[in-house]
């Protein structure tokens, strides 16, 4: 780098790092110190909690060396995977900011700075972000896990504990780097292969898919990482990148846990130690191969990132971003006229709802997170189901549908209260004619069509495979009725203009969330049982019950008194009490 470029490079790197915090990671209007404290506090408390929760058992027991060597493989797998997935999730959440975007180009292009300096500064900021997240996520587990393990295996010397701490830190940070680079590689290659115009169209969907996949994987991690050592590193577990990094871990420590000197043991302890040592010795020859795989994975993904970044830089010598994207008229523009021929406000709500749920970043990402939770629940539910063809359908199999659309609809109920663009609400405010119910009906129809229906279609294939297409189609129909009931129930207490009014947080949400979650799971299970009874022909009353609930909710919604004057800019109580709002 030229000497003259160093000053701008440092300034730009700092600017991009601040942008990650202020514009992308946090709310654009949020207070930086407060939000940093919240994010930092969350990361520290979460990692502390996870490491204490998973490792506390070591402090309260004495383990044989062979037993410790095998049982700790599960924890190592958990920490490596968690580091990889959390860092990947941060990268996916920062998707648009990982490269120079339109906003950067507009502001920075007129300045007398070489494009190469801008790109290098952006890369440095991205690298700093990745390193920061990787260190923050892994620092506490790297200390706590080996430290508590030393209580269970007192034969370990202090230097061996230190070696374990350093190895854990280096391996988990490497795994985190792999996760971070994988997301960047996907983004850069998508950009290189699709070109700027197509990439702009497809990018939000790739990001959403990435968040759904990574989020689901994080939620499934506790289940996947139990008894890793005992169950054996074979099958699909062996193919996971996390397993490769666990291999590096064991190679780096030389598996010294299994080789520690034995203390006096009872006969039973001796047998147990021998059995575990045998298991570990069976795994031991796999570690060099896994190490080579991990090195190849990390090197490969780094190479992919470098090549794609260079390719993009070569193809776009100017940092200017492609001009406006022509979207073309909506293919479903006729739908609101068909569904709501008489209500213009409902048509407005329908179109506005579809646009926000599919295109607005905040709302889309919230729904993606909900989809991740839903898919994790689906996988947990389906894991105990016999999916062989012609197997008898069970309530557990049928529950995957309400679990998935239920998660999405609950998230939809939350995002209804989040304004799509608060500064733009004046346009709706001035055109508003007080048709809250009609507008909300339009938005609810948009949710049914764009959220619930795709969720029902996604789970259609496994149910059709297990129980036949006719059964699955009938189940899908019942699912639509169920989704309509859930939507009616969720919308019953909603008094604002969706996506428009100021967001006011619910005060008691933290206290109520576990109760709501429990009620949701019980509700989904009961609904699945009812569906099973209806579909297997033993309950015609079930259909009547469902329709009666739907009609009752509809009547309650129509009869319910609404607030006459909508306050689009309602002030949070705390601000009013402090006199911070005129």
């Amino acid at each position: 780098m030229r000497k003259a470029d160093r000053g701008p490079y440092v300034l730009l790197t700092k600017l991009f790092l601040r942008q990650f915090l202020e514009n992308d990671l946090l709310s654009p209007d949020g207070d930086r110190s407060q939000m940093l404290a919240i994010v930092g506090g969350s990361v520290i408390s979460l990692t502390l909690f996870i490491s204490m929760f998973t490792s506390a058992g070591y402090a309260m027991s004495i383990m044989m060396p062979g037993e410790a060597a095998v049982l700790t493989l599960s924890d190592k797998f958990l920490y490596v995977s968690l580091a990889m997935l959390v860092t990947a999730l941060v990268a996916a959440a920062q998707w648009d900011a990982l490269a120079i975007d339109y906003r950067d180009a507009v502001i920075l292009q007129p300045l007398p700075i070489r494009p190469a300096v801008l790109r290098f500064a952006k890369l440095s900021a991205v690298a700093a972000l990745g390193a920061g997240v990787a260190i923050a996520v892994n620092i506490f587990p790297a200390i706590i896990f080996p430290w508590l393990l030393a209580f269970a295996v007192p034969q370990m010397h202090a230097w061996q504990v230190l070696q374990l701490i350093l190895t854990q830190f280096v391996i988990t940070v490497s795994a985190a780097t792999f996760g971070f680079l994988t997301v960047i590689a996907v983004r850069e290659w998508a950009s290189a292969l699709l070109g700027p115009n197509w990439f702009a169209r497809v990018s939000p969907w790739i990001q959403t898919m990435a968040i759904v996949l990574i989020g689901s994987a994080i939620l499934l991690l506790p289940m996947v990482s139990t008894r890793v050592g005992q169950r054996g590193m074979s099958g699909w577990r062996l193919d996971l990148p996390s397993t490769a990094f666990v291999g590096v871990y064991e190679s780096a420590t030389g598996g010294f846990l299994a080789d520690l000197p034995r203390r006096r043991m009872t006969k039973r302890q001796e047998d147990r130690d021998r059995a575990f040592t045998e298991i570990y010795d069976q795994r031991r020859p796999m570690f060099p191969g896994l190490t080579r795989r991990a090195e190849a994975l990390l090197g490969g993904v780094a190479l992919l990132v470098v090549v794609a970044t260079a390719l993009n830089a070569f193809r776009m010598p100017s940092i200017g971003i492609a001009a406006a994207q022509a979207r073309g008229r909506s293919k479903i523009a006729f739908l609101p006229r068909v569904i709501f021929p008489r209500s213009a406000a409902a048509r407005a709500g329908f179109d506005f709802g579809i646009a926000i749920l599919w295109r607005n970043k905040t709302h889309r990402l919230t729904l993606a997170a909900a989809a991740a939770i839903g898919f994790a629940m689906v996988l947990v539910a389906i894991s105990g189901v016999d999916l062989a063809a012609d197997a008898r359908p069970t309530a557990r199999l049928l529950s995957i549908q309400p679990l998935l659309y239920g998660c999405l609809l609950v998230a939809f109920r939350h995002v209804l209260r989040v304004p799509a663009e608060l500064r733009a609400n004046w346009g709706i405010q001035i055109a508003w004619r007080g048709k809250v119910r009609a507008f909300a009906n339009g938005v609810a129809a948009a949710a049914l069509l764009s959220i619930a229906l795709p969720a029902i279609l996604v789970v259609f294939p496994p149910i059709a495979f297990a129980a036949g297409v006719r059964f699955a189609a009938a189940h899908a129909l019942l699912g639509v009725v169920g989704a309509a009931i859930v939507l009616e129930a969720l919308m019953l207490s909603f008094d604002k203009v969706p996506f428009t009014c100021t967001y006011l947080p619910t005060d008691n949400m933290r206290a109520m969330a576990p109760i709501y979650a429990l009620a949701f799971i019980i509700g989904a299970a009961l609904f699945a049982r009812l569906e099973l009874a209806i579909l297997t022909g033993s309950s015609t009353m079930g259909v009547v019950t469902l329709l009666a609930i739907l009609i009752a909710l509809r009547i309650a919604s129509v009869l319910r008194k609404r607030v006459a004057d909508i306050d689009f800019n309602e002030t949070p109580v705390s601000l009013s009490e402090l006199g911070l709002h005129s």
Binding site: R347, A355, R359
Partner: protein, 258 residues
């Protein structure tokens, strides 16, 4: 057609008076210019007149009725063009106009006809289906103007509407404002471009630090202040420092060290 009247209109933000006892009347067929330097309270007044901001004191009346009695009914008669054209960036121009038109409950066929017409006349047909996020400020301003006129309002409030518009559109906008006035619309035109106000407005209200310092026809204001132009009148009323000397100081500061 009815008058839009503000009586003793006041707005305080955290105890600071931004608009202070403003009285004004906008009559059908009349274009009232609302002038003032930056921070004088023009936008705040416009938002209160449009029923978008609650006044701290005073009332806004339309057709002799306090607009707070039924803001929604008042909004049926109002078109508002804000200073900053904040719009939903993920909607296209056409979708935004459709949203506004449907909320105003315009018949679907009429709405389509009007939207196509506005987009064509504002040269936005090509960009009609692109995201507003990719629009220039001028393009967004054209969408905002279209949205304000979609329902043929009786009162139109323009708050510095020429911001970001090209020369041809600015000229067209001046003619549009005059044409709307001749068709009986009551128009409040807030701006700090004196030349535009001088050409477009019948009457001028000058605001300084939240207070009305002049309210009369341009001809009478010229006569009273013995000036030949609105610029001269404005200078006498609100400009306390010598602009030439400040300009000289700024140029000197820019040249410091070079």
């Amino acid at each position: 057609m009815s008058d839009l009247v503000a009586r003793k209109l006041t707005k305080r933000f955290s105890g600071t008076r931004v608009v202070n006892d403003v009285n004004l009347t906008v009559r059908p067929g009349e274009v009232v210019g609302y002038l003032g330097p930056n921070g004088s309270g023009k936008t705040t007044t416009a938002r209160m007149l449009g029923g978008l901001l609650e006044p701290s004191g005073g009332v806004v009346e339309y057709d002799g009725v306090d607009i707070r009695a039924d803001v929604i009914a008042f909004h049926r008669h109002v078109g508002y063009v804000p200073e900053e054209p904040y719009l939903y960036p993920f909607l296209s121009g056409r979708e935004y106009l459709q949203l506004v038109g449907r909320l105003r409950e315009l018949p679907e066929s009429l709405l389509t006809e009007k939207i196509d017409g506005f987009l064509r006349l504002f040269n936005l047909s090509v960009a009609a289906d692109q995201s507003i996020g990719s629009y220039s400020k001028g393009m967004r301003q054209k969408i905002v103007i279209s949205a304000a006129l979609l329902h043929d309002p009786a009162v139109v409030i323009f708050d510095e509407p020429e911001t970001g518009l090209d020369v041809a559109t600015t000229l067209m906008l001046r003619h549009l404002v005059r044409t709307l006035a001749t068709r009986g619309k009551a128009i409040l035109y807030s701006s700090h471009i004196l030349e535009v106000v001088e050409r477009v407005c019948d009457r001028v209200i000058v605001l300084h630090k939240g207070n009305v310092v002049a309210d009369d026809s341009i001809a009478r204001l010229r006569a009273l202040s013995s000036s030949t132009s609105l610029e001269g009148v404005f200078s006498q009323l609100v400009i306390r420092e010598d602009p030439e000397s400040i300009a000289r100081d700024l140029a000197d500061l820019a040249a410091t060290g070079s």
